[in-house]
């Protein structure tokens, strides 16, 4: 366990000192300012727009941290062989992967925390300026849950980005695979539902999509913007099942990543 914390420690240090992190946080700050200005030009559903834009900013910024900070950090380790300075110590490859995963997720967690506070301030400001448009059931608890789910989806994406970086010989390919998985994960459930409605008796495409839905993560399950915007309460069982889904999916991906990385030749 000590080795995992050591690897995560240097990952966090390296990440914090990287300008990309500052850039992403700056972008998020600008987005929140834009949220305040742009939302004012809407004539209805101000609260929903504010929450939607705010939570999207959190998700996009988290993804940007994975893509532009996390993946390059790991890719540099493998391409430029910085990994030698870790694995020449009595550190098992499994500990390296877990350390990287924890380190990157700590960076994502801290960023999401900062961004969600900024987003909450911007939403509060907008609602303060236009109290008539506050959804009657709006609740900060549901808002916080939506942020938490957003973080869970980023945890799943981090584990997948690590797997793809370990699997592919080029960072570019890993990047493409991760973006592809994100897009599939966001839309697969919607496409499946639409296809089911169009072909209630089933089709080959539907069967293939159903098979794919077991492989790719269902990221739409983590999208709770609507619930947060209208304060729609979601059941604790939904909360528990979705969290368990994220945890088990992540653990499975990490398990596969360790298997892949144990076989990888570091040249």
């Amino acid at each position: 366990m000590k080795h995992i914390w050591l690897v995560s420690g240097i990952t966090i240090k390296e990440g914090i000192r990287n300008r990309v992190l500052l850039g992403v946080l700056f972008f998020a700050l600008v987005m929140c300012a834009v949220n305040v200005v742009v939302t004012g030009s809407f004539t209805r559903d101000l609260g929903k727009v504010a929450v939607d834009v705010g939570l999207s900013t959190v998700s996009i910024s988290g993804l940007a941290i994975i893509f532009f900070l996390g993946m390059p950090l790991l890719a540099k380790d493998l391409d430029k062989l910085t990994v030698y300075l870790v694995l020449s110590r009595p550190i098992a490859r499994r500990d390296y992967i877990l350390g990287k995963f924890i380190g990157l997720n700590t960076l994502v967690f801290v960023s999401v925390l900062i961004l969600s506070v900024i987003t909450a301030i911007s939403v509060k400001l907008i609602m303060g300026l236009s109290p008539a448009y506050i959804p009657p059931l709006f609740s900060w608890t549901v808002f916080a849950m939506a942020v938490f789910f957003s973080f869970l989806s980023l945890v799943v994406m981090t584990s997948l980005s690590i797997l793809y970086t370990c699997l592919s010989s080029s960072t570019y390919m890993a990047f493409i695979f991760t973006i592809g998985t994100y897009l599939i994960g966001q839309n697969i459930e919607l496409v499946r539902t639409l296809l089911k409605q169009a072909n209630p008796e089933g089709s080959l495409t539907l069967s293939l999509l159903s098979a794919a839905s077991w492989i790719f993560p269902n990221l739409s399950a983590f999208d709770r913007k609507t619930s947060a915007a209208y304060g729609l309460d979601f059941h604790w069982s939904t909360f528990g099942i979705t969290t368990a889904y994220a945890v088990s999916y992540t653990l499975l991906v990490l398990f596969i990543t360790v298997l892949v990385f144990n076989r990888r030749e570091l040249t």
Partner: protein, 270 residues
């Protein structure tokens, strides 16, 4: 490392069979084979049937032209790449056990570090990862940075270092846990004469302290000065393994001995 941690081992050579104990043998490579498959072609052997035994306290120079397979052997020793077959042990323990690297200090050919860390932070991480106690670690770091002339830059990010400073930082990182075995891949490549002297003196000190030093190099004069024994590798085959004087006496000059050995082998292979 304590002697009690090393179990006696049986090493089987193609020609000889002998027992070695941890008191004598620290690195053993038995019948090592490695090949690479490139772009769907047939696997081409890089290392063929290599047997190598390094004794405790020995300073061993691993020589060979570019592409001979020296770095491949070192990477297999460090478990960065896997051999096709063969048994490799360090202190009588399989290299597949990550704990074995507690006894090893490793310097890669081109050390690349995390850009935003300082030398001090890097050494602190290296020491902690190798199980050095906090109280002795700071003292060791300070001594190493001073010894390798890096004290003035210890708080600066490594990305601002020159090549020589980076190489010396790599050496400091390899030595931070005071390992019994030092595996150095081209430790003097790219260094200016002052840097080379500094590193060479450091290796001599390790030798005096009874450490086992295994290093690859192209610089024959350094090998002559620093090594007890040498191994000459060409196209994955070990052509010579013996005392440095014996190697030198083949022609009377180390460089001539090396060149003629490689040329003869290349001619023999057609």
């Amino acid at each position: 490392m304590t002697a009690g941690l090393c179990q006696p081992s049986l090493f089987i050579n193609n020609r000889t069979k002998f027992f070695a104990t941890s008191e004598h043998m620290q690195i053993s490579i038995v019948n090592l084979n490695k090949s690479y498959k490139r772009h769907g072609e047939k696997r081409s052997p890089v290392i063929s049937g290599l047997n190598l035994f390094i004794e405790k306290g020995e300073s061993f120079g691993f020589l060979g032209p570019n592409g001979a397979g020296k770095s491949t052997v070192i990477k297999i020793l460090m478990n960065f790449i896997r051999s096709d077959s063969g048994e490799i042990e360090i202190c009588g323990e399989s290299i597949l056990n990550s704990n074995v690297r507690r006894y090893v200090g490793y310097l890669p050919e081109q050390p690349i570090f995390y850009d935003h860390l300082t030398a001090e932070e890097l050494l602190r991480y290296g020491g902690k990862a190798s199980g050095v106690q906090d109280d002795s670690l700071e003292e060791r770091i300070s001594w190493l940075l001073d010894r390798l002339n890096l004290s003035h830059a210890k708080k600066k990010p490594i990305r601002t270092y020159s090549k020589g400073m980076t190489q010396r930082t790599g050496l400091a990182l390899a030595m931070v846990h005071d390992p019994d075995i030092c595996i150095l891949d081209e430790p003097m490549s790219g260094l200016d004469p002052m840097g080379r002297k500094l590193v060479a003196d450091f290796i001599l000190d390790m030798r005096t302290a009874g450490k086992t030093v295994f290093f690859s190099s192209h610089i024959l004069s350094d090998v002559e000065r620093l090594c007890d024994r040498v191994g000459v590798l060409n196209k994955g085959k070990l052509l010579f393994c013996g005392p440095i004087d014996e190697f030198k006496n083949l022609t009377g000059d180390i460089e001539r001995s090396f060149v003629s050995m490689i040329e003869n082998d290349n001619r023999g292979r057609g």
